[in-house]
Amino acid sequence: MEIWIPRTPLANRTRRSLTIASFALPLLIWCSISYVPALWHPYVNIIDPGSVSYFRTGMLVEESQFAREYENARAQGAGLPTGKPANPVYLPAPHEVATALYTAFTTEPQRRNERWLHENLWHSVTIIFWGFLYSCLLGIPLGVMCGAYSAVSRMNEPFIEFVRYFPAPAFGALAVAILGIHDAPKVAIIFIGTFFQMVLVIANTTRKLDAKYLEAAMTLGASKLRLLLRVVVPGILPDLYRDLRILLGWAWTYLIVAELIGASSGITWFITQQARYKNFDNVFAAIIVIGLIGLLCDVLLGLAGKRLFPWHQASKT
């Protein structure tokens, strides 16, 4: 089949249906496991405890245990327990998550010092924004310089290569000690998590710029500064933009670390807390919200990229 020849483009219709399928398929699997009792459902949700002393309505017991108690009760001629097949508590059904998604945004926080979900979410977004912004402000120029000049590269990259293996979470306590307990250490964690990778990735992207553009510019009498600002920078811009899109995803993965240190806050703190209460419907709801925000950001940045870099082949797909 032609689709298995590498890089064969797809017809628009096929593309669209496959995009839909990529979301529909996991959802379908989730629905099947949740709503078809024959699939999995290793527990029984007690409806009526009957004569079993330790059963409570709404309790989850393992199927085998339920069967044993049921047989015991029948043998003694006592009241029979009833129940329905259920999945473990950590796998809520789609409708439960959907409800949680709605109620999480509409329910007032239980305690006075707690925040609404949307406030938590907004707080997380600002942490990411500042952390990533500082990372870009320092990382992009340094990365481009490393990629453009071998001397700068030799001077910085070996050390950065070493530092980037430091686990960002390890800096948590240090960041709190230095920067206090509020937002500053969280921003610092996002920065540490993305900056070193950013320098190396951008340096590599810069090195990949085809030398023919530099050579052409030199034979046209371009000064050293012009080579950097009018050839290297515009030449790598579309790829640099793509790198930043990927690195922004990394920033979100460091968010969970950032929000656990100092004064707890944000969407991932919400997740941790809800997991502790075993409100897994809320956990899934929050994870999905993060996914949606990430996806939305990426789609918007992708569209912006097409407008910003009309000459770039890869951004035309």
Partner: protein, 278 residues
């Protein structure tokens, strides 16, 4: 050869170049001495691996010679400069700039104001017949059009020498012959000296006043070959008996110089036979 006392526009003075590959020193060019006069059209031909691209890159200042020097009007060349424009085989227009801005690049680099640069650039774009495409991006142009822009870009800052490294090799035959006519037309109207590297002997006879024949292993100057054929309004007639005769003698000359390669070919044949036998 120069009976006049006028200095050559560009001269190769006992030029040598060697690379070190895996600890082995490889001589790419050895003892190249040649001159090109003002407004002359010089072609450099030779089998692949004879170092003709290296030679023109040294002239451009993109590579440094291992020995000897390149002289531009008696001053040694130490690096790339706007007095030596270059057109590459690979399409090397800046993909992020429009046709007009590509041509403006060299002018801006030489310190011309934006307005002046734009004016000169538009004249050049018009001269290469792309006035309607001034605001197009390179990716929207055909290969032939891109190379026309590349010629305009190289010539706009008024270089003394235009270096061309197999500029039409990547074009289809029809486009190539149109580009050859274009180039002669431009060269007639502009005060510029052209050094043109090609592996196509017919192209060399068609365009050049004089042809340098390089021989490989190591790259050396085998012969200098004058064309001395009249140019009609539309360039030379490649089917005239005189043209065919010139081409034939140039071919004989290059075949002789490439004879060093023959033993290698035999080795390859033998190796193949052995491979099949085993």
């Amino acid at each position: 050869m120069n009976t006049h006392s006028s200095t050559p526009m560009l001269a190769f003075d006992q030029l040598g170049k060697s690379f070190t590959v895996d600890g082995d020193e490889q001589q790419v060019l050895t003892d190249i001495s040649a001159q090109v006069n003002r407004r002359e059209f010089l072609a450099i031909v030779g089998a692949s691996g004879c170092g003709k691209s290296t030679l023109i890159r040294i002239a451009a200042g993109l590579e440094a010679p291992s020995s000897g020097q390149v002289l531009l009007e008696n001053r040694p060349v130490t690096g790339p400069g706007p007095e030596r424009g270059m057109v590459f085989q690979q399409f090397s227009l800046f993909p992020w700039l429009t046709v007009k801005h590509n041509v403006m690049f060299g002018l801006r680099s030489r310190g011309h104001s934006k307005a002046t640069s734009e004016e000169i650039a538009l004249q050049w774009v018009t001269l290469v017949g792309l006035a309607k495409h001034a605001d197009y991006l390179p990716s929207q142009l055909s290969g032939g059009m891109q190379q026309r822009v590349a010629i305009a870009r190289a010539l706009a800052p008024s270089p003394k020498v235009l270096l061309m490294d197999e500029p039409f090799a990547a074009l289809d035959p029809q486009t190539r012959s149109r580009m050859q006519a274009y180039l002669i037309d431009i060269w007639r109207n502009v005060d510029v000296t052209i050094i043109f590297v090609t592996h196509d002997l017919e192209e060399a006879v068609l365009l050049a006043d004089r042809v340098l024949v390089l021989a490989p292993n190591p790259g050396r100057l085998e012969a200098t070959f004058s064309i001395n054929l009249p140019r009609e309004a539309s360039g030379r007639d490649r089917y005239s008996p005189a043209f065919v005769e010139k081409l034939r003698s140039l071919q004989t000359l290059t075949n002789e110089s490439a004879q060093d390669l023959e033993p290698d070919l035999d080795m390859i044949r033998l190796a193949r036979v052995d491979g099949r036998a085993s």
